[in-house]
Subunit: 407 residues, 2 copies
């Protein structure tokens, strides 16, 4: 088989950890597989480099920031190649521009356009383990780019896609993807198989173990992703194309995001273009709005409600006061902090009626007031007071019987 | 003018120092010059990286070592470009493979073959200061190489040669090249102009401020090198082609190297090939032999004497005992430690008779015994007891009137 393995910053955080990774790569190769390894910077290193840059310049140019930040992974690939050699293996490191991983020119958040596999397959032909720098690429002008935080996951899946690898293994410090956060729900269970679509919706669980863009990439190219622990050999969670068996499971997991805030603009005009006028200044300020709900209009007036990160609330209120005073005077802008969004996710929802009703009933049974509701094809989210959110997650996990072993 | 500036590790050792370098580059550009800057890694960084590599592997592969070590300069170019931008300037960083600086494939000690100037001149056309990573290059397979310790000087002179720069300025923490070590000789004087040949011979003075290979490069391509302080705007030392005026100065400087040892093999056979048999095991063990003197043979026997670093003496004696017992039994191998080599250097020697005699007379006047003599066209070296070496340097400096301002 052709196996791509990816190790994050904590897995390569010290010389000892790097040696452990080397032994794992070698063990895989000795089972008869071809192995390409993608690694991140040693934990803490990227932050150290960015802090250096900020010491020089408060608003550093992103091209130069990428030149600096990409050195973290460059050091790790060299060290891991040395560690594999020290264990008697044959390895070579390749940087983004050596592979080459061609990206667009959006420095600091580049997107991969193409992965040239020749250097990798040449190295395979010499029985080498190929150690590839994650997070980095090169644009067509030869400038170094980086893919944004967590980009090494995307590097790994993109390399796996280009190589038509049998599997892309993402090694992390947890065992896999769980039905809920095990710290909140003791009965949370590791999910054995999950579809790409569900994984995308489980973002708030998955973000800890898998960058969202890597899942999109996996879905687009059909790369089986295996999220597993770098501390043991247990099977983790397979992220794969949806299949029939998955549909029988109505809900795959329960997620929760905290530190949300809510703004309601009461009784604003229902004229065309109002929403754009409200959200343009927020978008330009880089404020990410999540759930948007607009109550049905009566006599040309409506209420517009949306959620946003709590930390952005004051800035958002100031921007609205400055730019939208004519649409909605300050005394009709209401806001609330300390909210959480709890969601249930599952591809089975598409073919099972009454999932939303069941969610509302479970929350009602606990006397939890639902402030906002938003749904997608495979997800239902409710915004509630944060003080109830752990209770809500546990109640939903029990109510949908997620602790029970899945078929 | 087109000016290449090179700043070493201590000159870019902190954010504050990097900002100071940025201001100097900008000041030069604002005088109407085109500026390319070559920088080293921040002081201590290369050692930190190599220590990391050794923690992983006691004998690290040199290709991977270069991948790791080259990140030091990569961070500095990014930071300096940011610093220039923060001061309102226009700058772009270029790595070895981006310039590109093509080298041979001798990892860790690569030699520059060719510098492509297109990326640099393109950036000049956009009024940019070009910040180039020193110490690193790329071989024709696209692998990263490094030039060996102090290689950034060579990078700077090579870039200056390729650009046909008007001057290559080497910024350092001293004012220039001195007639002797000012710590030993208080009356030592900064040399205003010196020829490449003299600079090469003044290695032990020059090594502190200028890598020898960079001088060879400068000589080969006729690049004027200006060694000067990064702390002030004073004129430093110009290293330039020899001219008529220089010949009138008989001696340019006095140098001293300590921690030498001497081995004498007494009464060995004068047969052909004996020297090769003696020096082959030493060379294979990486022991660098300096001065070699063979007394004239009498009746087929001769004495062979050579100097080597004191730290290699024991190893050398063991090797000779093992490999050359038939040529010279152990009881006829004499050795001595705690020796110094003092030298006077000057292109004027070629046209002035009696310089050697004057040197011997000065040493004799101080009752200093000369143990070995070696001469080149523009240098005379005497090996003496280390306890007299400071006295010797001072006496020679005075005797040749080096404290007097040069024409």
């Amino acid at each position: 088989m052709l196996i791509v393995q990816k190790f994050g910053g904590t897995s390569v955080g010290s010389a000892e950890r790097i040696k452990a990774v080397a032994r794992r790569c070698l063990a895989t190769q000795r089972q008869g597989h071809r192995v390409a390894v993608i690694v991140s910077a040693m934990s803490g290193e990227t932050n150290r480099l960015l802090a250096l840059a900020r010491e020089i310049s408060p608003e550093p140019n992103e091209r130069e920031l990428d030149v600096i930040a990409s050195t973290g992974e460059q050091v790790t690939v060299g060290l891991l190649a040395l560690a594999i050699q020290a264990e008697g293996g044959n390895a070579i490191s390749l940087l983004g521009h050596q592979v080459r991983i061609l990206t667009d020119s959006a420095f600091a958040r580049a997107r991969i356009r193409e992965v040239d596999v020749h250097a990798i397959t040449d190295a395979f032909a010499q029985d080498r383990i190929v150690v590839i720098a994650g997070f980095q690429g090169v644009n067509k002008g030869g400038n170094i780019t980086t893919l944004g935080r967590g980009g090494s996951d995307t590097s790994a899946v993109a390399v796996a896609a280009a190589l038509k690898a049998d599997v892309c293994e993402i090694y992390t410090d947890v065992d896999g993807v769980y039905t809920a956060d095990p710290n909140v729900v003791p009965s949370a269970r590791k999910i054995a198989r999950i579809s790409y679509e569900e994984m995308l919706e489980l973002a708030s669980l998955g973000a800890k173990v898998l960058q969202i863009r890597s899942v999109e990439f996996g879905m687009k190219y059909g790369v089986p992703i295996h999220v597993r622990s770098s501390f043991n050999d247990n099977e983790g969670t397979w992220v794969v194309p949806e299949d029939k068996a998955m549909e029988s499971v109505v809900v795959s997991g329960v997620t929760e995001t905290r530190a949300e805030a809510k703004i309601t603009m009461v009784g604003i005009s229902d004229a065309a273009g109002i929403q754009a006028r409200v959200f343009r200044p927020l978008a330009e300020a880089g404020i990410v709005v999540d759930v948007i709900v607009q109550a049905s209009s009566s006599e040309g007036h409506t209420d517009l409600t949306f959620t946003l990160p709590k930390g952005d609330l004051k800035r958002a209120r100031d921007l609205l006061a400055k730019h939208c005073g004519d649409i909605c005077p300050a005394d009709r802008i209401r806001s609330e902090e300390n909210l959480s969004k709890v969601s249930v996710v599952g591809v089975g929802m598409r073919s099972h009626a009454g999932v939303a009703l069941k969610m509302f009933e479970i929350l009602a049974r606990e006397n939890i007031r639902i402030q906002l509701i938003s749904t997608s094809e495979i997800k239902i989210s409710c915004v509630i007071d944060t003080k109830y959110s752990e209770l809500a997650v546990r109640a939903l996990h029990d109510g949908f019987e997620l602790g029970t072993v899945r078929a």
